[in-house]
Symmetry: C2
Subunit: 322 residues, 2 copies
C-alpha cells in the first residue's frame, strides 16, 4: 500500500495544463509501489500514471530514472513512457513534491508466476540490459556492499529480535560475501528490483515492466540473481528448479552468460538475498505496526541466504536445463 | 485509504467470466472508501469498479444497496450501475468475500467545494430522494438514535481522553436531542453519507454520486442536515452561510421543504453531527495509530454540535437566502 499525498482537482488541473494530455476525467490514488504516491488518471486522450515522489527518492536521480524509461521505451522495451511538459521537461511540481506523468501500461502482475512467466521475465531482463547499454547517464547502486553495511550498522543490534542468533549468522555471511564480491564481471544498467509486482502480463505475454526507481549501474548478473530470488522460490522458500532454469534460459536466449558470470551466480544470489533481507529487517524494526507501508518478513530472505550458501555448483540453479 | 484484500489475476478472471464485460486488461487497488476493498478495472468494454465487501457491510444488505443503485441509475440519477452476472444476480464471491461489479463514473470529488458545488449537491440530493421514492426494498438506519446509544455506551468512558469534559457535554446533548427527535417528518430513502468524496464533478457539473452503503429509510430532512455538516463548514468549523443557502436552495428547487422540516433543521443537524462525532470517536479510540483506516478528529463534529446548539432560528442556515 502506497504512501499517499492527496491532491486537489484544482492543483492537478493546473499541473496538467503544462502537458498536452487533454482534459482530466478522473484520478484515483492507487495501491501500487511503496516508495511514492501514485494516481491512475483518465483524460480525454487516454490513461496515465501520475507519480509524486516521496522522501525516499532523490530529486537529483529523477532525470536518470525518467530518462532511462524514455530511452528503453524508444528502443522497444515495454515500459512506461514519460510524458514531456510543454516546456520540454519531464519533471514538474505538485503538492510540494517532484512529480511526473507517464503512460499507463495495461496488464496484470502475477501473484503466482509459472515457469512460462519466469522464462518471459528472463528474456525481458536481457533485452532491458541490451537496450540500456547505450544510455548515457550513470547512477551508482545505493544498495551495493557499502549500502548494505550502512543498513547492517543500524539493524545489527536488534537483529536477534527477529530470530535468536540472527546477528551472528548474518555477520559471518556478510563478511564472507563482501570478501568474495566480484568486480570484474560485465556491468551496465540494471533494474535492481524486478519483482513480480513490477512485471505485467496480458494474455500470457509480458506486457510491461514498471518501477525503475532502483535502477543503477552494477553487475548485469546481479540483476539475474535478484530475479532468481524474486521469481523462483515457492512460499515455503524452496527453490523451484523448473522456474529457475526457465528464467535463466529466457535470459540466455538474448544474452548468453559468460562462464565467470555463471560461476559467480551463487555468490551474487547470496548478496542479493542479503540486500533484500537488510531492507526488510530495517523496515521490520523501524516501521510501526499497522502503518501504511506493508511489513515483509526478513526471514524469507534469511532462508534464501541459507539456500544459496549451501549451493555446490551453479548447475543447481538449473542453468542449461531448459 | 481503503482496507485491502489482494486478488490474483486467475481468481479475478474466473470471477469476470460470470459477466459480459469483455477481457480483463488491468486492475488496480484504489484508495477509495474506508469500508470495502475497491479495484478500478479496465476491460475490453470499458472501466468498472470491483468492490469486495469487508466485514462492516452485511451481505444481507447488498440486494438493497445494489438494487437501489440500479433503481436510481435507471431513473436518471448519475450513480454507478451494478452489472448483472450471466445468471442474473448482482452479487458474486471473490477471495472469500461477497463482491460486485459496477460501472465506473468519470469525475473528481471536490476537496474544496464552492457554493456552486453546494447548490448542485442540494439539487442532486432532492432528485435522489424523489427517484428513490418508489424503490420497493426497505432498510432501517443502523445509525439512528438507537445506534448512537450503542456507540456512546462503548465510547463514553474514554471520551474525556479526546477533550476533558467531553463525556458530560455529549451526555447532556445526547439526552436533549433524543428527547426532541422528530418522528413525523416526510421520510423515504436517504443516502446518509453524502460527503464531498462521494460526489463527482466534471467540467463544473455534478457527474456522479457514489457509495450507497449507508443508504436506508429515514427522515429526508436528516439527509439535508448531514449535507450541511459535510459541505457547508470551513476548515475552522465556521458555518459558511453562502454555501448553506446555496445547498438549501438547490434542494428546494426540486423538492420544497415543508415548514415543519425547516423548523426541525437545527435539531436534525445536531443529531447528524452527533452521529458522525460518535463514529469518529469510536474509530479514534479503537483504531491503532498508523493503521490503514484514516483517523479523523471527532472534535470537528463536537464543534458542529456546539454550533447547531446555539442556533436560534433555522434562518441562520440561510434558508430562503439564495
Amino acid at each position: 500500500m502506497a504512501v499517499y499525498t492527496d491532491v486537489s482537482e484544482g492543483e492537478l488541473s493546473a499541473f496538467l495544463a503544462q502537458y498536452e494530455v487533454g482534459r482530466l476525467h478522473s484520478y484515483k490514488g492507487i495501491a501500487e509501489g511503496t516508495e511514492n504516491s501514485n494516481y491512475l488518471l483518465h483524460t480525454s486522450t487516454g490513461s496515465y500514471i501520475l507519480t509524486l515522489y516521496e522522501r525516499r527518492v532523490e530529486r537529483a536521480d529523477l532525470p536518470f530514472f525518467l530518462g532511462l524509461m524514455e530511452h528503453l521505451a524508444r528502443k522497444g522495451v515495454s515500459c512506461p513512457l514519460p510524458v514531456h511538459r510543454r516546456d520540454g521537461s519531464m519533471i514538474g511540481d505538485l503538492a510540494g513534491r517532484p512529480a511526473a506523468l507517464i503512460t499507463f501500461l495495461e496488464g496484470m502482475w502475477m501473484r503466482r508466476p509459472t515457469a512460462q512467466h519466469c522464462r518471459a521475465v528472463g528474456k525481458a531482463l536481457a533485452e532491458l540490459h541490451r537496450a540500456a547499454a547505450d544510455f548515457p547517464l550513470r547512477r551508482a547502486n545505493a544498495l551495493s556492499p557499502d549500502g548494505w553495511r550502512k543498513l547492517w550498522d543500524i539493524t545489527r543490534a536488534r537483529a536477534d529480535e527477529v530470530e535468536p542468533g540472527l546477528a551472528r549468522e548474518v555477520e559471518a555471511d556478510f563478511a564472507d560475501i563482501v570478501r568474495k564480491w566480484p568486480t570484474d564481471l560485465p556491468a551496465g544498467i540494471i533494474h535492481a528490483d524486478l519483482f513480480p509486482d513490477n512485471v505485467f502480463f496480458l494474455g500470457g505475454e509480458l506486457s510491461g515492466i514498471i518501477d525503475f526507481y532502483f535502477a543503477c549501474n552494477d553487475l548485469l548478473a546481479y540483476d539475474i540473481a535478484t530475479c532468481l530470488n524474486a521469481w523462483c522460490f515457492e512460499k515455503d522458500v524452496s527453490y523451484n528448479l523448473t522456474k529457475g532454469s526457465a528464467l535463466l534460459a529466457g535470459y540466455q536466449s538474448v544474452r548468453p552468460l559468460e562462464q565467470r558470470e555463471i560461476e559467480a551466480l551463487p555468490l551474487l544470489a547470496r548478496g542479493s538475498a542479503l540486500r533484500f533481507m537488510l531492507t526488510r529487517l530495517h523496515d521490520w524494526l523501524t516501521v510501526s505496526e499497522g502503518a501504511l507501508v506493508e511489513k515483509r518478513d526478513p526471514m524469507e530472505y534469511v532462508r534464501r541466504m541459507r539456500f544459496h550458501r549451501q549451493i555446490a555448483s551453479p548447475a543447481e540453479y538449473g542453468i542449461g536445463l531448459a
